[in-house]
Symmetry: C2
Subunit: 201 residues, 2 copies
């Protein structure tokens, strides 16, 4: 059986990343989500072990010390990281794995998995991003302002990504993302031994 | 407006390339077929200007002399080539263009359009390819034998292609091909100015 592929997804806050991935996971049953660990507070509607593994700063630092994380970073005052073993186990089992991480973590994963597929989700415009962040209503104006400034900085790193998916209409963005996954499964490098297998007949 | 993307498709005879492309063209209305020129005889069901531009050897050699072809090659005793201007006009107009060409022509196009997307269509097995060629009933046993030998040689060049689409079930192969086109439209290199445009807001 072929190994699974690793898809790294980054996006500024408010770009609809979570909704896109949620719908993509429903539509493709070989696609799995790598649940990240974080030290940030749980938001309304989130579930421990599903949205994130919620940890205290002390617990998170223990995981770092024990080498249990594929990558981790501090972002807007909180730790975010990817538990290592869960990811490699899924890939070995042929499952395609989505890592939802910010730009620094993504760059670190790329070093360890040079063949991973890097997807950056873009807002249709900054004006629209501002509107969406306010609509979400989970953050104060100051935090939103900080997130917009961070978004601008993050966008400059979109140049390190393989694919840019613009979330103007959700349905199109989901279809784009699913097409990227399907196309990557056809990429020659992700189908080792196929040509050799035919020629050996 | 963005330029269109160029998709080069090669496949050994009998792999269902024509059917896959026909269905893909029906499903994606920004996708256009670059009609090739050939000196081979028209087959039942083919139409001049649609299947190919059918030319005599003399007419074809005139086109070569006048530099009207993007690439051309001789294959199983006949000329095949791609009229240049039609392709570049469509790309400039934002249309995505499919070039259906054999491996040598594909390699030449890749030199002229390094960013083109190269797709190789594979049979599920050589046994199945043999069966399909006989079922088609348009060629003698000798020609089929020659085509199978050619297919083996061509397959070795599949390593120069970006994507391998296996035509085991037609519907899946069409969906794979359409996903490749959709994903390539999201590829960063095919979306020049998008990040800069957002940052300029």
């Amino acid at each position: 059986m072929s190994k699974g592929i690793l898809i790294v997804v980054s996006a500024p806050a408010g770009c609809g990343k979570d909704t896109i991935l949620e719908q993509a996971l429903k539509a493709n049953d070989n696609l799995f989500y790598s649940v990240s660990a974080t030290s940030r507070a749980m938001r309304p509607g989130e579930t421990d072990g599903v949205s994130y593994f919620f940890k205290t700063r002390e617990q998170f630092e223990e995981m770092i010390k024990n080498g249990e994380l594929l990558e981790y970073t501090e972002y807007v005052g909180n730790y975010y990281g990817t538990p290592k073993k869960a990811v490699t186990d899924m890939l070995e089992a042929g499952k395609d794995v989505i890592l939802k991480i910010e730009i620094e973590g993504a760059a670190n994963v790329k070093k360890m998995f040079p063949d991973c597929t890097m997807v950056f989700i873009l807002p249709p415009s900054f004006a629209e991003l501002d509107r969406r962040l306010h609509k979400r209503g989970t953050e104060t104006d100051d935090v939103i302002k900080q997130r917009l400034e961070t978004a601008r900085k993050e966008l400059k790193f979109a140049e390190n990504y393989d694919y840019l998916v613009t979330n103007a209409a959700l349905e199109d963005a989901v279809a784009d993302f699913l097409a990227v996954v399907r196309a990557e499964k056809c990429r020659r490098g992700n189908r080792p031994g196929v040509i050799e297998g035919l020629l050996a007949e």
